[in-house]
């Protein structure tokens, strides 16, 4: 905002700079009103989730509960309904994120540190890979898993889920690695360290925030993924929360809406928390460029 022109202007005349701030102030009220309206319509669909979760007699209309109780939460706090599915989600998501991180770091290192004529075509192919509609390949993947006898296997599902997010993970990891100045490694190279030793001892510690972002990014995606485990994991004992949520649809069409809402909230909390961590920390992860100047 500029106010520098204000001093030179004559009294009583509207200065351009004054017009800016006054115009902005006038524009502020309708902008506020419009945004609040938009925000309200975005919150409205979530209102039901919160109200129904504390209403023992919930349906799918949003209403203030007659009696507020934690009955729904208490009812789902059983190993079969809550803890086993959440644990499965945890194993799937953490496994997916770990596979991603290892493969992405290994791939990003040569791409970031060595000039090669393969680099640019490879990165564009990777980018192209991020565009593939994953839902479109689920039918062929199911067919492939049947042929290879991999259906209902946790490791196979983890490796497949990891591959779907791998292009994005490589892309992000390479960008974070590019931000680590190469001059720090050169000293290690002179001392006789190999490339991978330099990666482990110098580059990775410096980009750990970036690695955290990649891990969480992949974890959130895997945690929320419904379609992949829905198609590939068949037995109830292996299904993650995203799929087991259907157990609240009773056998005879009776839906336990209150419990469904309570389960949804408990299942969503971890990713909401992780998102907040990333959103808060994203700014500081680029601060390491100062490491070389000091």
């Amino acid at each position: 905002m500029t106010t520098t022109a204000g001093g030179t202007a004559g009294a009583g005349r509207r200065t351009p700079a004054g017009a800016v701030s006054r115009a902005q102030q006038r524009a502020r009220v309708p902008a506020d009103a419009a945004l609040i309206l938009i925000g309200a319509s975005f919150v409205l669909p979530l209102l039901w989730l919160v109200l129904a979760s504390v209403d023992p007699a919930a349906g799918h209309e949003a209403k203030v509960p007659g009696t507020v109780s934690l009955h729904n939460f208490a009812a789902i706090m059983t190993p079969g309904l809550l803890f086993q599915p959440l644990w499965n989600s945890m194993v799937l998501s953490a496994g997916t994120a770990a596979v991603n991180l290892v493969a992405a770091v290994l791939a990003a290192y040569p791409l970031s540190r060595y000039q090669s004529r393969f680099n640019r075509p490879f990165m564009y192919t990777i980018l192209f890979g991020t565009c593939l509609p994953i839902t479109a390949i689920m039918v062929p993947v199911y067919g492939l898993f049947v042929q290879l006898d991999l259906l209902d296997s946790m490791p196979a599902t983890i490796f497949f889920m990891a591959t779907t997010t791998l292009p994005m993970a490589i892309w992000m990891t390479k960008n974070f690695m590019d931000a680590v100045p190469v001059s720090l490694e050169e000293a290690a190279w002179v001392d006789g360290a190999s490339g991978l030793t330099a990666l482990r001892t110098i580059v990775l510690p410096l980009m750990r925030q970036g690695l955290g972002v990649v891990f969480i990014f992949v974890f959130i995606q895997a945690w929320g993924n419904f379609f992949v485990p829905f198609v590939l994991l068949l037995s109830e004992a292996r299904q993650p929360a995203a799929v087991s949520i259907f157990s609240f649809f009773g056998q005879h069409g009776a839906v336990a809406y209150g419990q469904l809402a309570a389960f949804s909230i408990l299942y969503s909390v971890p990713v909401l928390a992780l998102y907040v961590i990333v959103a808060k920390g994203a700014g500081s992860s680029f601060a390491l460029s100062g490491a070389v100047k000091g």
Partner: protein, 305 residues
């Protein structure tokens, strides 16, 4: 980009130069293997299987037979396919290219004018719908649009009619739900893009007497056109792949009235057990994705030069 200094100095390695140069690329191998087995493999398998009579169960599940173009001939003759294509285009055009894109841009612009606190709170509300697990968002949208759901309660409060959205207007319901779910992405892209527009440029236009709409049309939008193109491409691809939202809300119904291509592929393969025909539908979708993906990469390459 790698720092140019990497050319001067390299890690010490006493093997022959040629071997060394290739050994350096070895760490890429695990990633390449994963991508070949789980991404390229299924795509190739899809094109192959779409020429067979592979089935979900029975004899044709274990040893599918080659049927040539039969699945594609069925596909072309099937009245559901043109409907499904049309619904997919309406869904992508209405909810992504128009809905998410324009609403995201509008929110990003409004946020620059509004009070900081208002912008922060509304931004959180918009992002919340996007961060939630997709199945939770889908259930929330289902409850919202159901006959006695929140939307109809609001409409009743305003004295308006209360249609059964999921049955009478399934496309409207899933499009609004997808706008609700996905607008955050466009909003974030456009907020970042608008932050990069130098303040002096818009101020200069303001001095010249340009109104708000004029500044938007002649200065701001042309300056962020790269972000607009990227955003349009990415949300188109994301929306093409939407399955869970539609499947939970309408399951493609009633009577195929909201059967987009992903839902059709799933139904043919798993509900009717015809993997061969399902993969033929999926192949069409993959091809569309590949075309958009290629266009997107081209766009980025050009903007880099």
């Amino acid at each position: 980009m790698a720092a140019p200094t990497a050319q001067r100095l390299r890690p010490v390695n006493r093997r022959s130069p040629l071997l060394r140069r290739h050994a350096r690329l070895l760490p890429v191998l695990p990633a390449v293997l994963l991508l070949l087995v789980f991404l390229v493999g299924p795509v190739l398998w899809a094109f192959h299987a779409s020429f067979t009579n592979a089935a979900l169960t029975g004899r044709n599940a274990r040893s599918p037979g080659w049927v040539g173009f039969e699945n594609y001939q069925r596909l072309v003759a099937d009245p559901v396919l043109p409907l499904s294509l049309l619904l997919t285009i309406i869904f992508v055009g209405g909810s992504a290219i128009l809905g998410q894109n324009l609403l995201g841009l509008a929110i990003a612009i409004l946020m620059r004018r509004a009070r900081r606190a208002v912008a922060a709170v509304v931004g959180t509300a918009v992002v919340a719908a996007w961060v939630l697990p997709e199945i939770v968002a889908a259930f929330a949208a289902y409850a919202y649009f159901s006959r006695d759901g929140t939307l109809n309660q609001v409409l009743a409060g305003l004295g308006l009619g209360q249609p059964d959205w999921l049955y009478s207007f399934p496309m409207v319901a899933i499009m609004l739900a997808n706008i609700w779910r996905g607008t955050a992405f466009s909003m974030l892209v456009y907020r970042a893009a608008l932050d990069d527009v130098p303040g002096e440029v818009t101020e200069a236009a303001l001095m010249d007497g340009a109104g708000g709409w004029q500044r938007l049309a002649y200065i701001t939008l042309p300056m962020i056109r790269g972000s607009i193109a990227t955003n349009l491409m990415l949300i188109t691809l994301q929306t093409l792949a939407v399955f869970t939202l539609i499947w939970v809300m309408t399951a493609g119904g009633p009577a195929n009235a909201s059967t987009t291509l992903p839902v059709l592929a799933y139904q043919e393969a798993f509900k009717f057990g015809d993997i061969g025909y399902g993969t033929a539908v999926a192949s069409v979708l993959i091809l569309i994705g590949l075309v958009f993906g290629a266009a997107y990469v081209r766009l980025l390459r050009e903007s880099e030069r």
